[in-house]
């Protein structure tokens, strides 16, 4: 985040993203009958206008203000975290929830610095079995199944 906050003026970036998104949705919403479209389009219009106001505020206050929005986390670690989460979700869809969760807990813990494998594997197995007993056995609610289970 440090890189984002110092170099690219993040508030301005999100304002521009919001302006573009709200405009796109307004264009999309023109195909909806007026009675149903009026309310969401008005809200989108207000969000767009407020984003312009925030963009102007952000530009006027300049980088002094932006520096206050810096964060100690490194962008690389945050992106790694998000990537790990995404890989886990894809694995849940493909391999099934229980197998993916059993593998994810020790692997993700190791990726972020906890490398006591025997403990994390034991904790992971215990947690996965507990979820299985609670959902599949006790509540009869199946969690995602995949190629392996």
């Amino acid at each position: 985040m440090k890189a984002i906050s110092k170099g690219l003026m993040p508030t301005a970036g999100i304002c521009i993203a919001l302006i573009v998104t709200s405009t796109s949705f307004i264009v999309m919403g023109t195909g909806i009958p007026l009675e149903s479209a009026m309310f969401p389009l008005t809200v989108l219009g207000v969000v767009g206008v407020l984003s312009v106001v925030l963009l102007a505020q952000s530009c006027l206050q300049g980088r002094q203000c932006e520096a206050g929005e810096g964060h100690p986390e490194s962008l690389g670690k945050v992106l790694l975290g998000l990537l790990c989460v995404l890989i886990y979700l894809v694995a849940v869809a493909k391999l099934g929830f229980y197998v993916s969760t059993f593998l994810m807990i020790p692997l993700m813990s190791a990726a972020f610095g906890y490398r006591r494998w025997e403990r994390s594997l034991f904790g992971s197995a215990l947690f996965t079995v507990m979820l299985y007993l609670l959902f599949d056995m006790a509540m009869g609610r199946s969690l995602p199944h995949g190629w392996l289970m």
Binding site: P33, L50, L54
Partner: protein, 502 residues
């Protein structure tokens, strides 16, 4: 109205209801004890587990989590000087010095008893103040409900700490999300991109889990520091009754802190740490030994902990009667009401009296249970939680998030949607956009639109209907006052900022 309060009592005393409150209190202490996690995260992650439960049992669990987590926040605040929740910041001022002097156990007991007393006072306030307010709101029609929704969303967006424009943008995003799906009045599809998954709209739980759970999980993974650096290994071992007797002298502090907590809890956007600072300062100001405060004065812990539990049920007073939550946790609680088919707002007392009055009892019961379940064994046990490796903890919470999002409709679409909201929420949080207005926008947005359109249909599209009744005019005046107050507040803070830089 108070007859309904007694009528709801037998259901509340059932085993399932009491068990749900107990489980909620324990889960709440556990979550509150983990720095970075909070009642908001706890309720949002655990909400899907309540799907199979009756609304009353689910509400009991939520009341338990809310009460438990407020006390749980005191454990790391006292042992590690790391507040488990923002509301526990003032607890560190005297709690941590007490722990350093070997009196951690006493500090934890003061925190426990004070939390229970604050919770009881708050629960009583909810019982006494919500029903009369609910009676008044029963007179509201669609137009008044529309204005109440507008006032609720604006008050959270404008009064919440930080930039008001960011608050309004957050609220707008929430309201827009609420409009996705089939239009409830004329059944047209809106922004569904042809996906059947979006026809029913976006589940508030998917949004809650993404917005509130993903940012702390990423932070937990990315910042893997643990509580192992604690200096407070020795917690002391004074008997419970001995310490209870020595606490009786704090009655004035308990009373004052309870009143401050209740008053702050009722005000939208003001709850949490704000109240505990006022309470701590007031108690210190009126203390004879004020120079000892900050060096390990147990009464300082009592002032902070009573207040942060006293705003729990109080923040639910405007939430239940008007649909305006006092704190972000209350906003998430409203989401819980919604998924169990209870629409917060004026009609709640008319349509679901047993559930809403039962919820008030559950808040009181949760405060009493806190005293027993948060005792020395639990406190010692939960203080061990602080030593869990953070990456392991983050991974476990992540899998619970997946379970939560999937359980709603048993579809992976919701899981990926949750991830999308999580990334969006992480970016917004880092840029200091408030999350509570988004949640409230989703909760009240559909309600606001529906009542607006019904008002217009009933009046033959005559906009004059919006200001034709006395309650509507009063509500419009309150909205105008709110906007003027916010402009004044922003102007004042910018002037102070300029003066400080000069």
């Amino acid at each position: 109205m108070f007859e309904a309060l007694w009528h709801s009592l037998p259901d509340i005393l059932s085993v399932s209801s009491l068990l749900a409150v107990a489980v909620g209190v324990v889960a709440g202490i556990f979550l509150g004890a983990l720095p970075g996690l909070s009642a908001t995260l706890g309720i949002s992650v655990l909400l899907p587990f309540t799907f199979g439960m009756s609304p009353q049992v689910a509400l009991g669990m939520m009341a338990g989590i809310y009460n438990g987590s407020m006390y749980g926040g005191a454990i790391p605040a006292i042992l590690l000087r790391i507040p488990g929740t923002p509301a526990a910041v003032a607890t560190t001022f005297d709690g941590y010095p007490m722990a350093q002097q070997g009196h951690a156990n006493k500090a934890l007991r003061v925190a426990l008893v004070s939390s229970a007393i604050g919770g009881l006072a708050s629960g009583l306030a909810l019982m006494l103040l919500a029903p009369p307010l609910g009676s008044v709101t029963l007179m509201f029609g669609p137009t008044e409900i529309f204005w109440v929704s507008v006032f609720g969303i604006l008050s959270i967006a404008l009064l919440i700490k930080g930039n008001a424009v960011k608050g309004l943008i957050s609220a707008g995003i929430g309201i827009f999300v609420a409009t996705v799906g089939i239009d409830p009045v004329s059944a047209n599809e809106r922004f569904t991109f042809g996906s059947l998954y979006l026809d029913d709209g976006i589940s508030v739980i998917v949004l809650l889990i993404g917005l509130y759970a993903m940012p702390p999980v990423i932070d937990t993974l990315v910042n893997p520091q643990s509580g192992e650096e604690s200096h407070a290994k020795e917690v002391g071992d004074e008997g419970f009754f001995k310490s209870l007797v020595s606490m009786l002298g704090y009655w004035k502090t308990w009373l004052r802190a309870s009143l401050i907590g209740i008053a702050v809890g009722i005000l939208p956007g003001a709850g949490g740490s704000f109240g505990t600072f006022i309470s701590y300062n007031e108690a210190k100001r009126s203390a004879r030994n004020s120079e000892e405060w900050g060096k390990g004065e147990p009464e300082g812990v009592a002032a902070a902990e009573t207040c942060n539990n006293a705003d729990t049920a109080a923040s639910m007073i405007p939430a239940l009667t008007l649909g305006i939550p006092g704190t972000s946790v209350a906003a998430v609680m409203l989401g819980g009401f919604l998924i169990h088919g209870l629409q917060p707002g004026p009609n709640l007392f008319r349509e679901h009296p047993d559930e809403v009055f039962g919820f008030m009892w559950q808040f009181l019961i949760a405060s009493v249970m806190l005293l027993f379940l948060g005792g020395s064994v639990a406190t010692r046990l939960f203080s061990k939680v602080l030593y869990l490796p953070r990456p392991l903890l983050g991974s476990i919470i992540l899998s619970l998030m997946v379970v939560g999002a999937y359980s709603i409709h048993e579809t992976l679409f919701d899981v990926f949607l949750m991830f999308g909201f999580g990334v969006f929420g992480y970016v917004l949080e880092k840029l200091k956009f408030p999350m509570a207005p988004i949640v409230l926008g989703v909760i009240l947005g559909g309600f606001m639109e529906y009542n607006f359109r019904i008002s217009m249909l009933m009046s033959g599209n005559d906009p004059a209907v919006l200001w034709s009744s006395a309650p509507s005019i009063v509500l419009i005046a309150m909205i105008v006052m709110l906007i003027v107050l916010t402009c004044f507040k922003q102007r004042l803070s910018s002037l102070i900022g300029k003066r400080l830089t000069n």
